[in-house]
């Protein structure tokens, strides 16, 4: 130690009567810096960003869904913040400095307040992540508009996690508590429907949970009380902060804040639970939006494009997929009229089916293809283009959506009514439709090739899988809502795609009447179209056997028949 002369041991000017705010500010800055540097928080931020990107990289930006995705992803950072603030608030206990800190003029309440305020830095980080994600999506031709309240929900969740971590540290001062709470809350969050019941539309009580997902339902049909929910979350943050502070001797500002926060919590929480008014009923909304789409249809050559409000920029993309299919068809085979009509049937709407269907939304007609509210992008673009093109091609070869799924007489030994689904597997027109869809673009072709390789040629890529939902047939309440074109047929189509498109188009034109006949088989198509090399191996008989039966997961038996 150096010799301490009287000159170096100078009296330090005292700040008598310091306001606690100054100490809170400085301590919060110190704690906040340490919090942002904690590996847990950094890992949480990285995982949140990765989640945002992973969940959306194969779909086109639809901002009124991406905002919820961003908030959902920030739950990971919220969990990390909970763990980090809990560990920081328990630091003095873990490291046995309680006695030392007890001799300081700064009371423990100030330290707790500083811990709560230190979360602000991570909340700002959450905002940055959400903002960066939004910018990334904005750069990719987005449609619709994000909900600002929804965007702010993510940072609010992070604040909630941070304050909960501090509150737990004060009331249950053990490092073992926070990890168990995180896993338990996460599991309960995803089981919220089990706890409180109710469908997506009736279960308003689920809004008392910190986060409510969209569950794949169209945002346009689902009124989300995001503003009230944000107020509810902010109030919950304040309540948790006061709970943490009430571990120390209560002060008037704390009690007043707690009272106000509880009041706002009750008001906002109650406002969320208000039942929808009739105009907000999903059926009514669907009818209104579909009618609006019908009024603003765009005509391009012989095709009518009807996009729902906000999705008009997608018409160009649809046209870019549909026109190459029509260009390869013989003039007489082009479906006229042809409408590409976007609707909500592409979203998971079992409850709509329970309610009797989407009201005035028209049933699919012979000349309509119905894309949904998703569009593939990057790795998902091929599937999307292929699915849309296949819908047009199926119409062209005479496949009818009416026959895809229909009631059937009870089968022998069956209880109740049955359903039957048709499949064009085994028919030449299936090969033609698949080839027409695959030749529209390189991505389409690549998708078909990959699917055949991945599935080993024994099952078929049904329309609408894997990601974007483009249903050719009515989805109804049955899990099988799309046609099965046959794995072997897909493999044959892949072979045809290796040849010059003009050559195959010429053969298709020449033999159209035969190829589009339901009675013409795949073998005959091979001969007519002259696939290069040996024919691909046949799949096992039971897969494309139209007379096989299966039990549906809803318990209703159904069977496959050949499409008429």
């Amino acid at each position: 130690m150096t010799a301490a002369t009287p000159d170096t041991v100078r009296p330090v000017r005292r700040h008598g009567g310091l306001r606690a705010a100054a100490r809170v500010r400085v301590l919060a800055r110190i704690e906040g810096r340490r919090l942002l540097a904690r590996p847990t928080v950094l890992a949480g931020a990285g995982l949140s960003l990765l989640t945002m990107v992973t969940l959306t990289r194969t779909t086109a930006p639809v901002l009124n869904r991406d905002d919820t995705t961003a908030s959902a992803a920030l739950l990971v950072l919220a969990a990390a913040t909970l763990l980090a603030t809990n560990a920081a608030a328990l630091r003095s206990r873990r490291r046995a400095t309680d006695e030392l800190l007890a001799s300081m003029p700064t009371p423990p309440r100030v330290r707790t307040l500083a811990s709560l305020c230190s979360v602000a830095g991570v909340v700002a980080l959450a905002g940055l992540l959400g903002g960066a994600f939004l910018l990334w999506r904005l750069a990719a031709d987005p449609v619709t508009a994000p909900d600002p309240f929804e965007l702010l929900t993510g940072p609010a969740l992070v604040a909630l996690g941070g304050c909960l971590g501090v509150a737990l540290a004060r009331w249950a001062p053990s490092v073992t508590v926070a990890p168990v709470v995180v896993v338990g809350l996460a599991a309960l969050e995803f089981s919220v429907n089990l706890l409180i019941g109710g469908s997506e539309y009736g279960g308003r009580v689920k809004w008392l949970a910190p986060f409510v997902g969209q569950h794949g339902v169209a945002r346009e049909l689902l009124i989300r009380p995001t503003g009230w929910h944000l107020a509810y979350l902010v109030a919950l943050v304040a309540v948790l902060g006061c709970v943490a502070l009430l571990r120390h001797p209560a002060t008037r500002p704390t009690i007043a804040t707690a009272g106000a926060a509880v009041l706002v919590l009750l008001l906002a929480g109650g406002a969320q639970l208000r039942p929808l008014d009739p105009a907000q009923d999903p059926n009514a909304l669907a009818a209104e939006l579909t009618a609006a789409a019908a009024q603003d249809c765009e005509q391009r050559d012989d095709v009518t494009y009807c996009a729902l409000p906000g999705y008009e920029p997608w018409v160009d993309r649809w046209a870019a997929t549909v026109e190459p299919v029509l260009a390869r068809l013989p003039e007489r085979a082009r479906p006229r009229p042809l409408t590409v009509r976007q609707d909500f049937l592409g979203t998971r709407l079992e409850s709509l089916a329970d309610h009797g269907g989407p009201g005035t939304a028209a049933e699919p007609t012979h000349s309509e293809v119905r894309p949904g509210l998703w569009r593939g992008r990057n790795a998902g673009e091929g599937a999307y283009q292929f699915g849309l093109a296949l819908g047009v091609a199926a119409l062209a070869v005479g496949l009818s959506p009416d026959g895809a799924l229909s009631p059937a007489d009870a089968l022998p030994g069956q209880v109740g009514e049955g359903l039957q689904a048709c499949t064009p597997a085994g028919q030449a027109r299936s090969v033609v439709a698949l080839w027409l869809a695959g030749q529209t673009s390189e991505r389409s072709a690549e998708y078909l090739r990959n699917e055949v390789e991945r599935q080993g040629g024994t099952t078929a890529p049904a329309i609408g899988t894997p990601a974007p939902e483009i249903y050719f047939a009515r989805p109804a309440a049955h899990p099988i809502g799309a046609l099965n074109f046959g794995g072997w047929e897909a493999a044959v189509a892949v072979q045809l795609l290796r040849q010059a498109p003009d050559h195959i188009a010429g053969l298709v034109d020449r033999h159209w009447d035969t190829l589009s006949d339901p009675a013409t088989t795949t073998d005959e198509a091979l001969a007519l179209l002259g696939a290069d090399g040996p024919a691909p191996g046949r799949p096992p008989a039971d897969v494309s056997d139209p007379s096989s039966t299966e039990a549906g997961s809803s318990g209703t038996d159904w069977r496959l028949v050949a499409c008429p």
Partner: protein
């Protein structure tokens, strides 16, 4: 001196109060609640039930992560009882209530009528539980070894949660969370078994006495550093190291 079962049994009584039992009950209670909720739900199928069981497994692992935390690690490091033995006894003690809770979760899940009994693969799900717990304990052992003897549980349980999120984000073909009937079901569980063995090996390695693995270093020409064991003695001629010293330590430790 070889480790004996008797030695392990003797450690049960002193180690039992030194373990953090606190998180196991709430974690177990939550785990049972989650599985029960799914089992009660008429609309949940086998996949949802498996998800609930996996969440239960992660809960139990997060609680078991604290089994190795030892505030007195610095003091017990020089005792004759090997670190690995003490850790094994700790893990065995924690395994008892964990196994009972898991059995309870499986029983609750099995009460739900399923289309096929094979929809709930109890053995393979138990393999997943064992692997998750072993990975968590291996992480805790690593943190304790290279960091703080009292922070292994917190770090390991946090890492477990991060890993869970990460495994959910990786491409479907390599994701460990597969379901019965999927083509990768069998292959995925081969990887689960590999992960179990690897984490067990890591756990063992992290529990070995570091002196056993490090060769003494020093000046050449005798004594330490030549690689030959030399006899060091105190001033009175008694050996500093060697069988007599180890025997003395053993007697001191197990004095009745």
């Amino acid at each position: 001196m070889p480790v004996t079962p008797r030695q392990a049994l003797r450690l049960v009584r002193p180690l039992a109060p030194a373990i953090s039992w606190a998180p196991i009950a709430p974690a177990g209670g939550l785990a049972l609640l989650l599985v029960w909720l799914r089992a009660q739900d008429a609309y949940s199928g086998p996949e949802e039930l498996i998800v609930a069981l996996r969440a239960a497994a992660i809960l139990l692992a997060a609680a078991a992560a604290f089994a190795l935390d030892d505030a007195a690690a610095g003091t017990t490091a020089s005792t004759p009882s090997p670190l690995l033995l003490r850790r094994t006894v700790r893990v065995a003690l924690v395994a008892l209530p964990t196994t009972a809770l898991w059995a309870g979760a499986l029983w609750l899940a099995a009460r739900k009528p399923l289309p096929e009994p094979s929809s709930l693969p109890v053995a393979l799900l138990s393999l997943e539980l064992a692997t998750i717990i072993m990975i968590t304990l291996a992480l805790a052992a690593a943190v304790i070894r290279w960091g703080d003897s009292n922070s292994g549980g917190l770090a390991a349980s946090s890492a477990l949660l991060g890993l869970t999120v990460l495994t959910w984000l990786i491409p479907e073909g390599v994701r460990p969370w597969v379901y019965p009937g999927e083509p990768q079901w069998a292959a995925a569980h081969r990887w689960w078994a590999v992960a179990l063995i690897a984490s067990l090996a890591w756990f063992v390695w992290a529990g070995l006495d570091p002196r056993r693995r490090r060769r003494p270093q020093g000046p050449a020409g005798g004594g330490l550093g030549t690689g030959r064991r030399t006899r060091q003695t105190t001033g009175s001629g008694a050996p500093v190291q060697g069988p007599a010293c180890r025997e003395a330590r053993r007697r001191a430790h197990f004095r009745p």
